[in-house]
């Protein structure tokens, strides 16, 4: 019987060295909410674990040059509750805050959820829609990759055996980004269909998660939005094309045929929400320290309710 070898570097430099030396032989452990399930079920039996929990440099939430920088070991719960994130990247706070339950969110990390590349996770689609980049650090330095370059397939990423995912950088967000999580079962379940929609630099990005091996983003369809106002007809058309293009998978949360229909509905709804932003009903501002946001035709008000704009 062999015990699992436990490596716990105390700094990023040390972690990088260990990673470079041990490579794939040492399984990188972040929060453990995903790896723990795989190990418990016997799908994975690592002989050596490289834990990042003692690496303090990976725990920061900062803003640099207007970009949000999330350390790989920042937990979902921290993203969800951080004042800066809630104020300036509210849809991101929502996407992290809607994962599973607080017990899981206190454990699961920003780096972990990307490196796992689990098709049914919430954050990757939202990060993709916001144009986020993952920082991969190897022996020869750092490189930045977009989310759709990072995730290659089911549980597959472009992270090399000597690299660590150290940080996620999110560009400044234009107001009104949307994350819609459609659950077909329990409130704590993973999404059946997830839709993230955001605008940056005038361009629309719609990313559909949980329906295929990786988040699905179709720039040519999104480009339609440049041809006219994002009204009901435009929302329907983009949604229809997404549903047509996507090759959904079947799992316990829904069949491929069902998912295709839900994609058409949820992409449209996401764009209707996004289109509502900038309209007369937008309420955005701080009130007593609490963000208040209203949506046209909707009932969702995040933060404290108040009588009116």
């Amino acid at each position: 019987m062999s015990a699992v070898q436990w490596l716990e570097p105390r700094s990023l430099a040390e972690a990088g060295e260990v990673r470079a030396q041990r490579g794939a032989e040492a399984t990188v452990l972040a929060g453990g909410s995903f790896l723990g399930i795989l190990m418990n079920q016997g799908f994975l039996s690592p002989t050596c674990l490289l834990s990042l929990r003692a690496v303090g440099e990976l725990r920061g939430i900062t803003v640099r040059d207007g970009e949000l920088c999330l350390g790989a070991m920042v937990t979902h719960r921290q993203v969800e509750r951080d004042e800066t994130v809630r104020r300036d990247w509210p849809a991101l706070a929502r996407a992290f805050g809607i994962v599973a339950s607080p017990r899981v969110r206190n454990q699961a990390t920003v780096g972990g959820v990307l490196a796992d590349a689990d098709y049914a996770s919430d954050p990757p689609a939202m990060l993709g829609a916001l144009g986020a980049r993952a920082v991969l650090r190897g022996p020869t330095g750092e490189r930045e990759v977009a989310i759709d370059e990072l995730i290659l397939g089911f549980y597959q990423t472009c992270i090399a055996d000597d690299e660590l995912l150290t940080e996620v950088r999110v560009p400044p967000a234009e107001p009104g980004a949307v994350y819609r999580k459609f659950r077909s079962r329990s409130s704590e379940d993973r999404p059946c269909v997830a839709v993230a929609a955001a605008r940056s630099g005038g361009a629309l990005r719609v990313v559909v998660g949980a329906c295929a091996e990786m988040p699905q983003h179709y720039p040519d369809i999104c480009a339609l939005a440049a041809e006219g106002p994002l009204d009901g007809a435009m929302a329907r058309e983009i949604a229809r094309r997404y549903a047509e293009r996507l090759q959904p998978l079947t799992d316990a949360r829904g069949s491929a045929g069902y998912r295709r229909r839900i994609v058409a509905v949820e992409v449209r709804r996401a764009l209707e929400e996004l289109g509502g932003v900038g309209g007369e009903t937008l309420v955005r501002g701080r009130q007593g320290g609490t963000l208040v946001r209203g949506r046209r035709g909707g009932t969702l008000v995040r933060g404290r309710r108040r009588a009116g704009p």
């Binding site: 079920q41 077909s184 829904g254 229909r261 949820e266």
Partner: protein
């Protein structure tokens, strides 16, 4: 306050079977079949290691077949009949070493044809799971078991009341429908766990079980021992819901401890829980005939009840499911035919409600279909046909203390059904209690109060608190002065088992006897015993199904996102008739728990199988209801009646939840006939409605 069984859970003082330890004990891991049906050709356990003990077929050659209702189980399977069937076991110094050693046991199999559906399993030519037949067993059986020779049906329960053919001849309206229920997991927080130890040819097992005396009797059969040579010590269970009944992990563990010559402990992991005992999947066909004015004249129920690889209590479940499906109605002509059927799925057994939910879901959905046909409100259709005091039920029993109408009306009022029934659904139910059965209890004076010895078991349902409250009232002391000793077959008086919502009802009355006896024994010790006699004839369904009836109802109000099929339960209300409440707080918790479990069953709980293999054997892929799944309004009530007996209520409001929600959808023209009522099924019902119109 550890005696209350409540605070000790918070302080961590309470010890569960997973905490049990014996000096020098080893830890067990089971070797399980990866095939749904396969003959074991050979087992090579030579690689397990010198400090491990392996148990294989030849070690159990002297042991006999056992089973609580049918003797069809072997301590180790020479023919694996489901994925996860135990074919060998290993004991080692640590749980991890045991798991690794078990993985080194090489088993060669010869695969056999398998069947996974109860309807297919009774068709001609289906592979037979137990070709040498089923043999009735044990005192746990309250009915004669009626296997159909040469088939996979290990039991057939029939109920015949009146002349059903003539009844349908009189019917002006007839509806016929079929409904499906999948398998479900009990999912208690604490998994199955036990320690077994042999000393002087005497076996002691510390385990979490609802059935200490049945377990002792079954192990006595398997090991060929007098029952007195076996001692079962039960502790508080971290939940059970029917999962910890009869022999589960204990027989293999006892055989392993016998070979090791040392105590051995096992704790199953979550994936193993999904192949240990589940709920019976079922297909139920209902045919219901009525006059134009809505009076019921005839009902037929055909039930295919999937008991999995071994009968366990499947015959009992098929029986209870069969008569509960008749419903609390006056119907002059009834025929029920319920089969408990072997398939190559893991064994199915007792699950909170014991089959009642499956047939109530089918029958009460059919009532609303009939209501639409005869153009009556579903509430009014039920009212016109409900059993009342003095009426005769289909089993021939004369009904007493009948409260169905009160329960139904209370449920209807909770959702303001009569003002506007759209988006709302109702269900009213009858279910029975284990009959015949016996409950005994003793009371002994102690320095600070009294000690009660009982084999009733605590699984979080509040048995201890209820007996303390009853005892305090009878003995004139404070509840905290009464200690409830842990169930121990060496020292506890006999009890049939802690199931079927019977403990407060049966033990409460036994305790009254015991206290009376104590008064005549200079207040030192007293003994009380209650028997309920009866049982149903399996061929006619006549006799005594239950000496007291569980009566209840539920109402639901729903809204549907018709673009996605996503169902929102805006209000769920459960009503249970309690007779007299003993422990108000505990009763409320039981009602809430049963409703919530019913909600999970209705909306998303289902074990998924792929070629007999559980595809979602973890609590991420198998969804249980979470706090966020609670309906916007989640309410219940417990009805009492002055001077009434104590009625059981641990299960009552679970069975009506699926039909109440299904009927709420039906009121919107959305017809779903299979559980769970998933968003995808609702969307298909939206499509079907559009096609109809």
């Amino acid at each position: 306050m550890s005696a209350s069984g409540l605070d000790a859970r918070v302080t961590g003082q309470l010890r569960y079977a997973v905490d049990a330890e014996r000096p020098g004990m080893l830890h067990a891991a089971f070797v399980r079949s990866p095939h749904a049906h396969a003959r074991v050709v050979s087992i090579d356990a030579t690689a397990v290691g010198a400090d491990c003990v392996a148990l294989t077929g030849e070690d159990v050659a002297d042991l006999r077949r056992y089973g609580c209702q049918v003797r069809d189980e072997h301590v180790l399977a020479a023919v694996a009949r489901h994925v996860g069937d135990v074919v060998a076991a290993v004991a080692a110094p640590t749980p991890r070493a045991a798991r690794e050693a078990a993985d080194r046991v090489e088993v060669r199999y010869e695969e056999l044809p398998a069947v996974y559906d109860p309807v297919e399993a009774v068709e001609p030519g289906a592979p037979l799971l137990h070709p040498d037949g089923a043999h009735s067993a044990g005192e746990a059986v309250s009915i004669g078991v009626r296997p159909l020779a040469g088939t996979n049906a290990c039991h057939r329960f029939r109920l015949v009341h009146g002349d059903v053919a003539a009844g349908f001849g009189d019917a002006e309206v007839v509806v016929q429908r079929a409904y499906r229920t999948p398998s479900a997991a009990h999912a208690p927080m604490e998994p199955h766990a036990a320690v077994a130890e042999w000393e002087d040819e005497r076996l002691t097992i510390w385990t979490g079980t609802q059935t200490p005396f049945n377990l002792r009797a079954d192990l006595a059969v398997a090991f060929g021992l007098d029952e007195e040579r076996i001692r079962i010590v039960g502790g508080t269970m971290g939940g059970s819901f029917g999962a910890k009944t009869f022999v589960r992990q204990e027989a293999v563990l006892a055989a392993l401890a016998r070979k090791a010559g040392r105590p051995v402990k096992v704790v199953l992991d979550r994936a193993e829980e999904f192949v240990t005992l589940n709920r019976h999947p079922s297909v139920i066909r209902v045919r219901l005939g009525a006059r134009r004015d809505g009076s019921l004249v005839a009902k037929e129920l055909d039930c295919w009840v999937d008991t999995g690889a071994y009968a366990d209590c499947g015959p009992g479940v098929a029986t209870k499911l069969g008569y509960a499906g008749v419903g609390p109605y006056r119907i002059p002509h009834v025929r029920v035919d319920a089969l408990a059927i072997y398939t190559n799925l893991p064994p199915n057994g007792a699950y909170r409600g014991y089959g009642a939910m499956q047939s109530i879901w089918a029958s009460e959905r059919t009532m609303d279909v009939l209501a639409a046909e005869v153009d009556l409100s579903p509430l009014e259709l039920r009212r016109r046909n409900l059993l009342r005091d003095g009426d005769r039920f289909a089993t021939g029993e004369v009904m007493h203390d009948v409260q169905f109408e009160r329960c139904l009306q209370a449920a209807a009022d909770a959702v303001d059904y009569e003002r506007d029934p759209r988006g709302k659904g109702l269900c009213v139910l009858l279910k029975g209690m284990q009959t015949p059965s016996r409950a005994a209890i003793s009371v002994q004076r102690a320095p600070v109060g009294y000690v009660i010895h009982t084999a009733a078991t605590e699984m979080g349902q509040g048995m201890r608190r209820s007996l303390q409250l009853l005892g305090a009232e009878l003995l004139g002391c404070e509840p905290g002065q009464i200690e409830i000793a842990a169930p121990d077959t060496d020292t506890s008086p006999y009890d049939t088992r802690t199931t079927s919502s019977r403990t407060t009802h049966m033990m409460g009355r036994a305790l009254e006897e015991a206290v009376r006896d104590l008064r005549t024994n200079s207040n030192e010790r007293g003994y009380g015993e209650i028997r309920n006699e009866g049982g149903l004839d399996p061929d006619s369904g006549q006799g005594i199904a239950s000496t007291h009836w569980h009566q209840g109802a539920a109402a639901a109000r729903v809204t549907v996102d018709e673009e996605t099929g996503k169902l929102t339960v805006d209000h769920l209300h459960g009503v249970a008739y309690a007779g007299r409440i003993v422990n108000p707080e505990g009763a409320a918790l039981q009602n809430e728990g049963a409703l919530l479990m019913g909600l999970g069953t209705t909306l998303f709980e289902a074990i998924e199988f792929a070629d007999g293999q559980v595809a979602n054997a973890n609590l991420s892929d198998y969804n249980l209801p979470a706090t966020g799944d609670l309906p916007t309004r989640f309410t219940h009530e417990i009805i009492e009646r002055e001077g009434a007996d104590v009625h059981g209520l641990g299960e009552t409001v679970l069975p009506p939840v699926p039909a109440a929600i299904g009927n709420a959808l039906f009121s919107l023209g959305l017809d779903v006939a299979e559980l769970p009522i998933s968003a995808e099924r609702v969307l298909a019902a939206v499509d079907a409605r559009r096609e109809r119109s």
